[in-house]
Symmetry: C2
Subunit: 251 residues, 2 copies
């Protein structure tokens, strides 16, 4: 099973601590990794078909504190689609003059939607097909960029069509909100003042967030399995679509 | 003026030598840099709004020999659009299930084309507008991916519409061919057996390609100004659209 990690914050935040724990999990998920950082409407997408434990790109990310309010990461264990760069999550497309980034964990069986001209998969994964279909249907439903609330309503209508084909845990962002849909495993935490120290589950590393934050900072993290062992992670229910804005859960 | 660098080869080739010389030019072009590598149909796009002389991303690329048959790089000196990630070249979009990557050098005046739903700029540069318009018009002209020859004929019809608005030196690739259009400055070289040693113009560095190649290898490089001082670079003429396939000029 692949692993997902998403960050949504009200102030640009680096992911060095969480990514370090997350990348440790790549020992079992060695078929590529990817991470996308929004900076304003711009986005950087780093993908590598190598494992995050060995990739020079992952090594750079562990040491280069890229600060962002919206980050999505994925480590891959291939189910459908061969191990290749074009099959590495997150995937990115442009819609309404915004970049959209998507990463999926799970396996969709017999999901072969009709895809018209505007969004076509480059690789051969069920995940990229699902993303292209979501983008196509969002574009059909709205002529220009809607509010996060309206986008959430449309997504809530669309997602079950995909989810009935299998496991559809996903993260989606357009640099303004982070959507998280849970079929099986997805956990989140909201960190805010007063910040405490957190201890990674996968590595011997502790960070005292109170030393790196201001009282106004708010950060939400969404991840397949909790990253820290001393914080109170919330599990999303099967079929739940959560939305994070400005570092806390909005819907 | 920005600087462009493109590579097209018949075998995966690393750009460490050429990028080292190219990145030296970033001292005067400090408003960001970007580089895209195709690996099969997959693509990796590294962009940074920092100068290529200082960026940790550029530092990684100077030391990590990513091998690719199609590479596009750009160092930016902003003319239109502020210094921001969303304005950093190359730009990438998907069309017909292929990624397309585009980088521009020059300045387009009063180019405000009608852009319909399918391709919209995320940033505010003339360059991204021109790219979106080219993608839109290509999509209008062909229902599915045409041959390189047909794409070239369509591009040759489209490009003058943009070029009459100003300087339109650009590089474009979809992972199968490299198009280079010249308004003012663009030079290319084709390297093939017998390979010789090349000496960078911008740094004290020489590479003997004969030690790193086989007799079958062919590599074409396209760049704003020649990178080496002991090779015979060809200047493209104003208005010329060149196409490189498998490491040599096809049209």
């Amino acid at each position: 099973m692949c692993q997902l990690l998403g960050l949504n914050a009200n102030t640009p935040t680096d992911l060095v601590f969480s990514f370090t724990g997350f990348a440790h999990r790549a020992e079992e998920h060695k078929d590529g990794f990817g991470i996308a950082f929004f900076e304003g409407p711009g986005a950087r997408l780093f993908v590598d078909a190598q494992s995050a434990t060995q990739s020079p790109v992952a090594e750079m990310i562990r040491h280069y504190p890229i600060r962002s309010r919206h980050i999505l990461a994925h480590i891959r264990k291939a189910t459908q689609g061969r191990v290749a760069l074009e099959n590495t999550h997150p995937f990115m497309r442009e819609l309404w003059g915004r970049y959209w980034v998507f990463a999926h964990n799970g396996n969709l069986v017999d999901f072969q939607p009709k895809l018209h001209a505007a969004f076509r998969p480059v690789g051969d994964t069920d995940s990229e097909r699902a993303f292209c279909w979501l983008m196509q249907e969002l574009a059909k439903n709205h002529a220009s960029l809607p509010s996060v609330e309206h986008l959430t309503m449309t997504l809530a209508e669309l997602v079950p069509t995909v989810a009935r084909h299998g496991t559809f845990n996903f993260l989606l962002s357009h640099g303004e909100a982070l959507w998280a849909h849970c079929s099986t495993h997805l956990h989140y935490i909201e960190r805010s003042h007063p910040f405490a120290a957190a201890q990674l589950q996968d590595a011997d590393m502790t960070v005292d967030f109170s030393a790196h934050t201001t009282p106004q900072d708010r950060v939400a993290l969404v991840v397949t399995q909790p990253l820290t062992c001393n914080e109170d992670w919330q599990a999303l229910r099967s079929g739940e679509l959560a939305v994070f804005v400005d570092g806390h859960r909005a819907i």
